[in-house]
């Protein structure tokens, strides 16, 4: 830079803040390397402009530091756009977000390239402000948007994960759902709330676990013959330690989203992980981790992982394509052992060499180890974890060097993304294991555990938001467990009083059982003569043509192929005592359930019963009372006897959960009966319409799955909402004491 030009620049820069003047030299030096002369002038003009907008020196400093790179990326036109936008921002109630805004631009550069996209980005922020501005007494935008700063500060985290459209959806969701809840809005945009994580997972690039769970389940069943449930964990930028897939005693845990990698699709990456985990399950035995130093564990794991991979590839040779594509290929000599610890590097190179015959080991020790390894597995032998532990120890000792204990560890390309954390075969003995269980967990997190021995892992369901016309992803958590059992004879006693009813029902069943007769025409041997056809045949016969002999018709019974799910609301209000009879609604429900269960069982239809209640969206309890394959017997009666009423009625989530069982039933007609005493409601749903609309949506979802929903409502004032939800498919029972009689009748009416 000639002194003249420098002079010119200096004259151009008119900002008088001392801190800015100090920064002038260094920033000019870096700007000069990447910007043209004209651009530098514009850059300095921009800085001058920001000096004068009355926000102090800080925005100017951020601008001066970050802009050269941004200008180089987007071109000179971006200066005008950004300074103008900064000016707008400074004049708005959101002036505090000016600095975060300027700071966010640097990370925006990483993913978006065109000036149009930059404008789109600004447009997204504008939209957010527009949606969240507060209007008080007709004065607009006097208050800032609550989550604005949090949002702009989160941009560096969002940009690598989502495309701009995804970011827009993310912001849109937060802005419309937390409009009036500033604290939650902040938490959302800080990416700390569960919802934020779910939305990111939904909008993320790559393959979503939820969308392919079904396929993985089938792959697990048919390829690996295993029945452990699959579950996903959140992969989150905030976590310092990246979670790895793992195989627990009762669960297969996989990441919630996987992007394509090395031309292996996300789905196939899931399959590769599944294969590796299942291979451990099939072939690994346990080792006591306390007997091995951590570094030694690394080597033993490398051998054991390679062994199960080899066996898996022997079984399914196609896995080779996945494994070799996904396994890192640490280059020869990439790690300098005089500088840093090469332990991981060595382990990964060894592991590659063990599964990849083409790998150029360039190391006699690795070659020797490969030979031993392949010898262990030759002639279709499976070898053993123990043998691998010996090989690992051998390799560790022979390859050990001083630098292994250096604090700087070479990490580059040493992580095998399809492998798990091997907790399956390393087990620990810890003396104080038990202590943890004694001290109660004071910091229970949002997802409260409602687990007991009989419970299944929680399932997440979306909930419909009628305001934004979209689903709130993973909004509700359903815990399913076996209903506790009580005294079965209690039910028998209750039902005794209804002997008369049972008798009447029995005669109805008799009528129903050989259902709808269907006329079958064109029968050679039939019950009655079908005159039309008989005449036609006679004419044929007289005219010398071969007559059709099928001149009779007969009747056949229509087959009855129906599966019924009875979903019972067990919310607190069931404890209300009916003024006419002095019994609780719960008691009537129990009797009605028992009688209906008996009726349907006698009819021989597939029938299941479940109870539900909820305590906020993070705890929807779904209790299994009778399964489709269970007979109506003392066990089921005992469960009915033990029914308790508590909490609220989050119907949509329970219906979705029940539907996934009903859906799997091979029946022509599927019916879901919902027995409830009030409208869908929960203590965390302030808007009474929200759960009603969600339930309505659930009914629609069920319908599209071929499930017919029908509501039996004990609330006399149900007309207001029940029609909205179930259109015409409901019965309101005004006199509760009639429920035991009406419930089975409703069922028979529906199914005949």
């Amino acid at each position: 830079m000639t002194p003249e030009i420098r002079k010119k620049y200096q004259n151009q820069f008119t900002c008088k803040f001392p801190a800015a003047i100090d920064l002038f030299e260094p920033s000019l030096n870096s700007a000069e390397k990447i910007l043209s002369e004209q651009q530098i002038f514009a850059y300095l003009d921009g800085a001058n402009f920001l000096c004068k907008i009355g926000q102090g020196v800080d925005p100017v400093l951020v601008y001066m530091r970050s802009m050269p790179e941004i200008i180089a990326h987007f071109g000179g036109d971006s200066i005008e756009i950004i300074t103008h936008y900064s000016y707008q921002l400074a004049r708005s109630p959101n002036k505090k977000s000016l600095i975060p805004f300027l700071q966010s631009l640097k990370s925006v550069c990483l993913r978006i390239d065109s000036i149009d996209d930059l404008q789109y980005y600004l447009h997204i922020i504008d939209n957010y402000v527009e949606k969240t501005k507060t209007i008080i007494h007709g004065h607009q935008s006097i208050h800032e948007s609550a989550g604005m700063i949090a949002l702009l500060e989160s941009i560096p985290n969002l940009i690598p994960k989502l495309c701009l459209k995804g970011i827009e959806n993310f912001i849109h969701y937060g802005a419309s759902n937390y409009k009036d809840a500033p604290d939650q809005q902040k938490e959302y945009f800080k990416l700390q709330s569960h919802d934020a994580k779910s939305i990111i997972a939904r909008e993320r690039l790559g393959t979503n676990f939820k969308s392919i769970e079904h396929k993985l389940n089938m792959a697990r069943d048919c390829l690996w013959d295993c029945d452990l449930p699959l579950s996903s964990y959140t992969t989150d930028a905030h976590q310092i330690r990246k979670p790895q897939p793992y195989l627990g005693d009762e669960i297969i845990a996989l990441p919630d989203v996987l992007e394509d990698k090395n031309s292996i699709s996300g789905l196939n990456r899931y399959r590769a992980i599944l294969a590796h985990l299942m291979a451990h399950k099939k072939w690994s035995t346990r080792l006591m981790a306390d007997n091995y130093a951590p570094q030694l564990q690394l080597m033993v794991s490398a051998f054991e992982d390679a062994r199960v991979d080899t066996l898996a590839m022997r079984k399914y040779p196609g896995l080779k394509n996945y494994f070799l594509a996904l396994h890192p290929y640490p280059k020869k000599g990439a790690c300098d052992k005089s500088q840093m610890s090469c332990l991981r590097y060595r382990a990964t190179r060894l592991s590659r060499a063990l599964i990849d015959p083409q790998f150029d080991a360039d190391d006699d020790l690795i070659k020797e180890m490969c030979k031993k390894f392949h010898h262990c597995l030759s002639n279709n032998k499976e070898s053993s974890t123990k043998e691998m532990s010996d090989l690992g120890t051998d390799y560790f000792i022979k390859s050990r060097c001083d630098s292994d204990s250096r604090p700087e560890i070479y990490f580059d390309k040493t992580e095998v993304s399809y492998r798990d954390d091997n907790r399956y075969f390393w087990y620990h003995y810890e003396e104080y294991d038990e202590a943890d269980e004694i001290i109660p967990d004071e910091y229970q997190n949002e997802e409260k555990k409602v687990e007991s021995a009989d419970s299944l892992p929680p399932k997440y369901y979306d909930e419909w938001d009628y305001i934004s016309k979209g689903y709130k992803p993973d909004w509700t958590i359903v815990y399913e467990r076996l209903h506790p059992s009580g005294d079965a004879s209690h039910i028998d006693r209750l039902v005794e009083k209804y002997a008369e009813l049972a008798k009447r029902l029995k005669s109805m069943i008799e009528i129903l059982k050989p259902q709808n007769k269907k006329r079958i025409r064109f029968q050679e041997d039939g019950e009655e003569l079908d005159l039309d056809i008989a005449l036609r045949s006679l004419i044929d016969y007289k005219s010398g043509q071969t007559p059709d002999m099928r001149i009779n018709y007969s009747y056949a019974t229509d087959s009855r192929d129906i599966a019924v799910m009875l979903l019972v609301d067990t919310s607190e209000s069931l404890n209300n005592i009916n003024s006419e009879t002095g019994q609780t609604l719960l008691e009537f429900s129990q009797i009605a359930l028992a009688i209906t269960a008996w009726t349907v069982d006698t009819l021989g239809d597939k029938f299941a019963i479940a109870g539900f209640n909820s305590n906020t969206r993070s705890e929807v309890r779904y209790q299994h009372i009778k399964g489709f394959s269970e007979k109506y017997n003392a066990t089921v009666k005992a469960r009915i006897a033990e029914m308790k009423a508590a909490y609220s009625t989050r119907m949509g989530a329970a219906m979705r959960h029940a539907a996934h069982y009903l859906e799997a039933q091979p029946a022509e007609k599927k019916l879901m009966l919902i027995l409830t005493d009030g409208e869908p409601a929960d203590i965390d749903a302030k808007d009474p319409q929200s759960l009603i609309k969600d339930t309505k949506k659930a009914v629609e979802e069920l319908k599209s799955k071929g499930i017919f929903s029908y509501c039996i409502n004990l609330d006399k004032n149900a007309d207001d909402y029940v029609q909205d939800i179930f259109t015409n498919n409901y019965t309101i029972i005004d006199h509760v004491d009639k429920l035991p009689e009406q419930l089975p009748q409703v069922f028979m009416k529906l199914s005949s």
Binding site: H214, D221, C222, L223, D225, R271, Y316, G318, T546, S559
Partner: protein, 266 residues
């Protein structure tokens, strides 16, 4: 009447699973009717063919369907230029001249139709042709065999107890992996490795039965795949065509099986 054209001249390929050949021979000697049960394509019909060949008896096969009537089995009067003429149905033919009559997939026929076989299948061994007014005494060589697949039919299509209890029954299932592979090698003329892989895929799909698949991949389909491979089709293509496409229209299952095929053939 000569029914020798129903005789099987060439030995059909059949691989014995256990002692079923002996069992069948004993039943035949004792003039007992037989019911063979098992999933589709596991070799029931082939076994009967093989036994007919071994016993050197003619085999008359009737594939049952819903429209089949008693007259289709027993026979009927037909019109010709001279008036009417009685034509024996397959069952009458077999009973009169001494053949093995094989009613394949009997549950597909309506239950009341099957009552006509009752008198033939107990100690009476006779068949009444009521339209003709004749009582046919069964030939000593006559035997009735029915097949049925208990798996896929609905409850409505079960056999009547009175029909069921006239038969000795033999259970069939898919052969063990090794045996199935050897069947594929013989029938499809493929090498051992390909046969093993086909069997592996077959077993894979059988595990999905009840999880969206009504029925696993049968040995018959595996033979088809082997034959396609033998004609120069790549194994992956052949498997997709012969093993996956026929059994399911569910996209997820299809994709899972396709992937399994790719994994197995590498």
């Amino acid at each position: 009447m000569d029914i020798s054209h129903y005789k099987i001249d060439q030995e059909p390929f059949y691989k014995q699973l256990t002692n079923e050949v002996d069992l069948y021979q004993a039943a035949y000697a004792a003039k007992l009717p037989i019911m063979v049960k098992g999933p589709t394509g596991c070799g029931k019909s082939r076994f009967i063919e093989y036994m007919a060949w071994k016993l050197e008896k003619p085999l008359i096969t009737v594939s049952c369907n819903e429209d089949i009537t008693a007259s289709d089995l027993v026979g009927r009067y037909l019109l010709d230029e001279n008036g009417t003429q009685w034509i024996d149905g397959p069952l009458t033919l077999a009973a009169r001249y001494g053949a093995i009559c094989y009613l394949d997939e009997i549950v597909e026929a309506r239950q009341d139709t099957m009552v006509v076989i009752h008198a033939l299948t107990d100690h009476r061994r006779e068949l009444t042709l009521d339209k003709k007014g004749e009582l046919v005494k069964a030939h000593p060589d006559f035997q009735l065999v029915i097949s049925y697949n208990p798996g896929y039919q609905s409850l409505m299509k079960d056999l009547k107890q009175s029909t069921k209890q006239r038969f000795c029954a033999m259970d069939f299932d898919y052969a063990s992996a090794d045996l199935e592979a050897s069947i594929l090698i013989k029938e499809g003329n493929i090498d051992q490795e390909t046969a093993n892989n086909l069997v592996k895929i077959g077993h894979t799909a059988r595990k999905l039965k009840g999880h969206g698949l009504e029925e696993g991949i049968s040995t018959r389909l595996m033979v088809y795949a082997a034959m396609l491979i033998n004609k120069g089709i790549t194994p992956i293509e052949a498997c997709k065509m012969a093993l996956v496409r026929p059994i399911t229209d569910d996209l997820d299952i299809r994709e899972t099986l396709d992937n399994a095929i790719e994994l197995v053939f590498g």
